[in-house]
Amino acid sequence: MNPDRYELLKRLFDTASTTPVAEREAVVAELCGGDHALREELRRLLEHDQHPLDIFDAPPEIDPDGAPLDSVEVPGYAIQHRIGEGGFGIVYAALQLHPIRRSVALKLIKHGFASPTTRHRFTIECDALARLDHPSIARVFDAGTTPSGHLFCTMELIDGASICDYANDRQLTATQRIELMIPVCEAMQHAHQRGILHRDLKPSNILVVENAGKPLPKVIDFGIAKIRDDDGGGTAGPTLSGEFVGTPVYMSPEQADPERGGLDTRSDVYSLAVVLYELLTGTAPLQSSAATRPSLETVLRTLREEDPPLASTRLRDLGEAGDLHARRCGTHRDTLLRTLRGDLDRILAMALERDRSRRYESPQQLGADLSRFLRDEAVLARSPTTSYLLRKFARRHRGKLILGATALTLLLLGVVGTTIGLVHALEARRTAKLEEERARLEARISGEIAAFLNEDLLASVSPEGLGIDVSVREALDVAAERVEGRFAEMPAVEIALRTTLGSTYRKLGVIPPSLRHLERARTLAEQNLGPDDPRRLRAFLELGAALYTAGHPQESASILRDVLRRSEQVFGSRSKESIAAAFHLASAYAESPDQRDARALVDRWLPISRSHLGPSHPQTLRFAFGLGQIHLVERDLDSASRVFEQALTQARSALGPTHRLTLMLTNEHAKTLRRSRQFAAAEQLLRNAWAAATQRLGARHPTTLILQSGLLSCIYRDPKRLKETDALLDEMLVAWPRVFRADHPTLLQFWFDTATILERMRQFERARELLHKVVRALEDAPQPLVLHAMRSLEGLAERTGARGEAREWQARYQRAAARLKRQH
């Protein structure tokens, strides 16, 4: 009926039906005039009005004994059992009987949805889907109508788990999870190229099967996918029931907001990213917390206006759930966080852009960027800054880095070379008298180089990671040589490089070159930078730390006091720079017999570190380590034990049982227990840690060895375990030099500690032998350990009655001490 006529009819009906029955005939005649058809229609409606069907009066009822949908028969198929049910259909496992016998998934569309339009669309869709041919897309075989009028289609039967369940059950790593998503991206690209959007991508629609032992994801349920319209990119159109359903959490913003226009390939990109986000963080990006029912405002805002948090931010904020998820990824939260930060955060953020014009254009682009991430290449999602590209280069070569010094040398040369290239570029600019820009560029270069060296290159070889005893030092030496004289024109760059080199030498325990570079950085900084310049403060901070390590606590403290004061003003009193300065200053103070200054600093800065860097941040744990040490000096064993125990719990869960800091805390805690004569408890603690380390890292890993040496300290006093002690000693004395370089600080400390034990076991000759090793290694580079070794050798000589030798060691000790003092 045309709208005008319908409107007219309705208006007339309204008028006529409200007039008394007796007058109606006359009213109708008057209203319709000569339009007989209209008059007839109106008369019929009024007739119905007086005699309505019962159906309009009684509310409809639900029939209790209707046959269930399961009883529907599909010719040619034997339905076996129900797999799943949704709002629109039921999926069964079925056996196709002919032309070939095979297991299929049979999807039966519920009746209420099978309007002619739906049926038409359904047929078209199934045809299109049947043409998809990709290993990661479940094949569609057949479609049709059952005798009872139900629409059905059959698909490849996938006996797999949802991608998230699969990844969690198998404890796949973040890398493996990403690898799993790449074929999914490719599959979606395949579908998009054939004009098919999925529109309901979610973990339960991506199943993983194992094919020749390898996981193979399969995208299923294009059931609600719709042929992409050419006009308007596939708007939902009139919502005849059964056309489409999405799942809110995985929906793109344009799916939740029709004003943004219809869907396109980028909507699937969004959903793919949601799934990846869930794989990596354990939660969907816009998932509201499970505990609270979201208000209307909240949901509206999240769906339409809010950007999801960065994946790493989400993981960081997740609390215990985050730890749990990290365990499911076979790692610890901090490690997973590091993996997410940077590229993956950017890739996900780009794919989850609310404005789809800023998203990846296609699943293929997303997949390509993920592949680039896996190969440590620069990703599209990031703007390529110098430091970023350098970082990528370093990551790509990390394997080689660990293998040997050559690659590392090349890499450092590469960095320096790059810098030189930048310097030349700068020269050209300078002649163009762009002094201001030069200064800015110089600052940027120095910042980027420092960041690159600190955070990436050297972090991967720093002793905190342990286990990497490559000739980092040689590589550093070569690189350091190249720095000489190359940066006369660019003091800021030279300061940054020398600060980093000095810091790295210090972390490797190689003090003389560390001090040399840092002293040079100090001189340059004093000449070229203002007293509050951040780069100057960083150089001074490192110098202070190195002086402390070199055994000059007072000098260290006088520098660090100033650094701390200025850092609080320049970086803020809650900044990581200030916290680091406070930590090193506290360490320097702690060297004096009076612990009060150290104690005051730790009392003030430990809470700040805890609240601003986090309770399990390495810096916080180092503070706790320091506090425990102070308690030990104060002979407050209970407090020390408590502090170590708490920090140890944090370190274990955040950094893992085999992280250097965890290990140091384990050792200190065990030491505290031994000092309070709880040998059994100490031994238990170390044995557990040692077992974990052996299992995860191997028996010959430095961490494992260090734990083993702690065990030695637990048992050597017990005369009943003499044999055990000897066996352990023999084993360790062979193993250690194989793992550590002859001048590795950890090895030297081990020689010294073991010598002390041997002395107590009255094995004087063996003790002397070990102490000699220490002295030989450090003769040219005096530091506190060598002084301790000389003192011990003097004592040993006394005990064995070698008076002459004792006097000789006394003299050597005094010379070395004087030399150490003279250095500063």
Partner: protein, 200 residues
């Protein structure tokens, strides 16, 4: 699926649907449909012989569950819009199934008198005829069709419908009265309803 999860999904979907998005509404629809089905199954299992289950009672129950006693909650309009549609689909499902069981799925044996036969419960064919006529009305006059949906499938009163659709009560009353007659006329004109598999 645990109860709270269903409710959580439902609530979220409901909020999403209140953005006016057709697709979000479809998502909500799927959830509501499943939920109503589940509730119906539970109720039916507990019914005594001879007792019947009114669809509108089920809708009312669903509403109590979702609204949590908040009568002025702004999700009302979306909820009842979607729930009416879901209930209609459930009833159509049932009616089609019964019709195909009773009549072997064939039009041939369908007797014309079943339309006129007064029953306490509407016959499946009559219901299907109404369903088809309502589809016509939706195309002709969506607003009036909405009034019918809310009144017939959700069991809402004139006042409630007027509030939800922002109409006067008088308009709602007039719409319903006209629609009833129009649908009845349509059912007569359309003849027996189509059963799946036979049409086209």
């Amino acid at each position: 699926m645990p109860e709270d999860r269903v409710n959580g999904d439902l609530t979220a979907a409901l909020h999403a649907a209140s953005t006016g998005s057709a697709e979000a509404e479809e998502a909500l629809f799927g959830i509501v449909y499943d939920d109503l089905r589940r509730m119906a199954k539970l109720r039916l299992a507990r019914l005594q012989p001879g007792q019947t289950l009114q669809a509108t009672a089920l809708v009312h129950e669903a509403w109590l569950k979702i609204a949590n006693g908040d009568k002025d909650w702004s999700g009302r309009a979306q909820f009842f819009g979607v729930v009416s549609r879901a209930m209609r689909n459930i009833l159509v499902d049932d009616a089609r199934r019964k019709a195909s069981v009773k009549h072997g799925g064939g039009l041939a044996r369908m007797s014309a008198e079943s339309l006129a036969q007064p029953e306490r419960e509407a016959s499946p064919l009559e219901f299907l005829a109404l369903h088809e006529a309502l589809e016509d009305l939706e195309r002709q006059d969506p607003r009036v069709a909405k009034v019918v949906m809310l009144r017939y499938f959700s069991g809402l009163g004139t006042g409630e419908i007027a509030g939800l659709l922002d109409l006067s009560e008088r308009t709602v009353e007039r719409d319903w009265r006209f629609a009833r007659s129009w649908l009845q006329q349509r059912m007569t004109e359309n003849g027996p309803p189509k059963l799946e598999g036979q049409a086209e």
